[in-house]
Symmetry: C2
Subunit: 363 residues, 2 copies
């Protein structure tokens, strides 16, 4: 078992990584008998894991109510939120309730935001079931729902009291979702850790085979990197946490332009990271050979290295300018400055970005 | 001009109290030329004050967009919130935008919550226009909307960057709303400050005549008391801030049972404070003579001293148990222990509460 402590402004909390965690109440400390819990999950996960989790919780005297939402990004919305509030209100959940998010990024972000707002903030526990959520979304207290044209436009910083990463979930994860998570894994390596990039180059096949030892190391390393960033920039104020958005501004454009869910988040981020690298290269701060290393690793992971053929380079811009990382109308991007290092760069002319996207499409 | 500093976990901010403040950009510091602002107000206030405020802001080069909602508590809801988000999104407001709430508690709570959630938190300035908002709602960062059966069920702690209290607003405030605000003023005195209670006994007629000198002292004292509480218990965690809910659990029952707006918040709180005092008396911690002093002051202020005739004492309980101040199903109330002091008391049997409400009805 690996335990990583996330230090935040108001308190610290553990990330626990192991197999078999959902069968053991100790994974869910400080929950105890007679505590009230609202478990939020979706219709895909409920048949697989809900019963096991209920046995662990109810078997130890915890009072559990449930919200089972349909599966899909479209429930990460005011509508999905409203369903959780209705359940909390109908079942008379008080300020001392604990929400448990059993699911991927959609369930985690939505449940976390519900916990942030219900009675101005109640406790919640993240039980991420996808690779993407285990290495990224479930850690660090960013919660949100989508609104109109933009992802994560409405949200809060609200830290969980615990993150329970059960590696067993990954064995039932659809291949496409597993691969989508690998994009965020590769993002950590490009943005922050060149040694981890080399480790990925050496171990990508074991990861794809979902070897437990490889998964354990990989997830632990990502969680350590994330916890390190959260400790120094919990609210994305000093530029450190923003580095984790590498590739995301370009990627959001793809996700929104194509319609949520057409391209997976990971596919969009993968293509976005190549675009970011091409942009950095045009600005004279990134080597062609490193772009090739990134593309080779993405391809080995089963990820794309360019955006959808139906999108012109010019069509990205309106979506990128709408992105919430835009400050006062100026285009501001996270760009790599080498494998394992990155920076925020402001005032990038749009023609450079368009040229970089074109380079990613043709090369 | 009076200036009071509110010290919170993350930063301090000023409350400025004076006449004529909305005509002076200095009241809205740190806003400056080219800043982006979303001004939220309602259809009652817009014809009275919007133009003056726009002259001050736009005349100094600030870019202002507006949301003008219909007047009423029913817009303190997900629907009202959605209108603000839509405007922010349509007008491409970024993370550096500032929301300005020009209005009473409804506009302030709603706008504050929108500011708390939009892009996970943007700046906002409170410009409270009612007595209730000037002495209470606009200060201290409690933001919320109503949900289904319960008031303020969904919200956040999100501090404004400034509170601009222009005493001129009070001259156009309808009498019923002014009197509603006096209930919160009297609440501060009963809960926290016996000298202020005596001051109110000596000056209530000047207040009712809206004498500027009396208003200035009264509002300043309430803001000082509120700022003192917020500094030691920003998130209502250690029991200090909860004292400001004196009378509110009973009062919420009236507001919800009668339908929002049938009884004003202040009328409900006034009756609730008498019920709280009667409860405290039954528990042997409050003198009959002090109940009389409270009732006399409330009556002089034009406020009720008991609940609606159509509500039986028993009918309060379901609403009070649904109140968000209930912990683990146990009835927990703020009760006075004398004029100027109060405490949180747990485990109060419901028959005592019913008896106390009956006493308030017949005496």
């Amino acid at each position: 078992m690996a335990k990583i402590i996330v230090k935040t402004e108001r308190y610290s909390y553990p990330i626990t990584i192991d197999t078999g965690l959902i069968h053991n109440l100790a994974s869910f400390l400080p929950l105890k008998a007679n505590d009230q819990v609202m478990l939020v999950t979706n219709q895909t996960l409920a048949p697989l894991y809900l019963k096991s989790l209920l046995i662990t919780l109810e078997g130890n005297g915890i009072k559990v109510d449930q919200v089972v939402l349909p599966d899909g990004e479209q429930y990460k919305s005011l509508t999905g939120l409203e369903q959780i509030f209705a359940a909390l209100s109908e079942k008379f959940h008080g300020r001392d309730t604990t929400l448990i998010a059993l699911g991927g990024g959609v369930i985690g972000d939505l449940t976390g935001f519900a916990a942030a707002c219900y009675q101005r903030g109640v406790r919640f526990i993240q039980v991420p079931t996808t690779l993407l959520a285990q290495v990224d979304a479930a850690i660090g207290g960013k919660t949100a729902i989508n609104h109109a044209m933009s992802k994560n436009m409405i949200g809060a910083f609200h830290q969980p009291i615990s993150v329970v990463i059960d590696l067993d979930f990954l064995q039932t994860l659809p291949k496409s979702e597993f691969i989508s998570g690998l994009a965020e894994v590769i993002k950590y390596a490009i943005a922050l850790d060149s040694d981890f990039f080399v480790w990925l180059e050496n171990n990508i096949e074991d990861l794809l085979a979902r070897d437990t030892t490889a998964l354990r190391y990989c997830i632990r390393r990502c969680c350590e990197l994330k916890a390190g960033i959260v400790a120094i920039d919990e609210r994305e104020e000093n530029g450190q946490r923003a580095l984790l958005n590498l590739g995301h501004t370009y990627g959001h454009a793809i996700e929104v332009a194509m319609g949520y869910g057409t391209w997976s988040h990971g596919q969009a981020v993968a293509a976005g990271m190549v675009m970011a690298a091409e942009t950095a290269k045009l600005l004279g701060q990134f080597a062609t050979a490193d772009i090739e290393r990134i593309k080779v690793l993405l391809l080995r992971a089963g990820l794309p290295t360019h955006g959808p053929d139906t999108m012109t380079a010019e069509s990205y811009l309106p979506y990128m300018q709408r992105d919430k990382k835009v400050l006062a109308g100026e285009l501001r991007l996270i760009l790599p400055t080498g494998i394992g290092q990155s920076e925020i760069r402001s005032g990038i002319p749009s023609h450079i970005v368009i040229k970089a996207i074109k380079h990613s499409q043709i090369s």
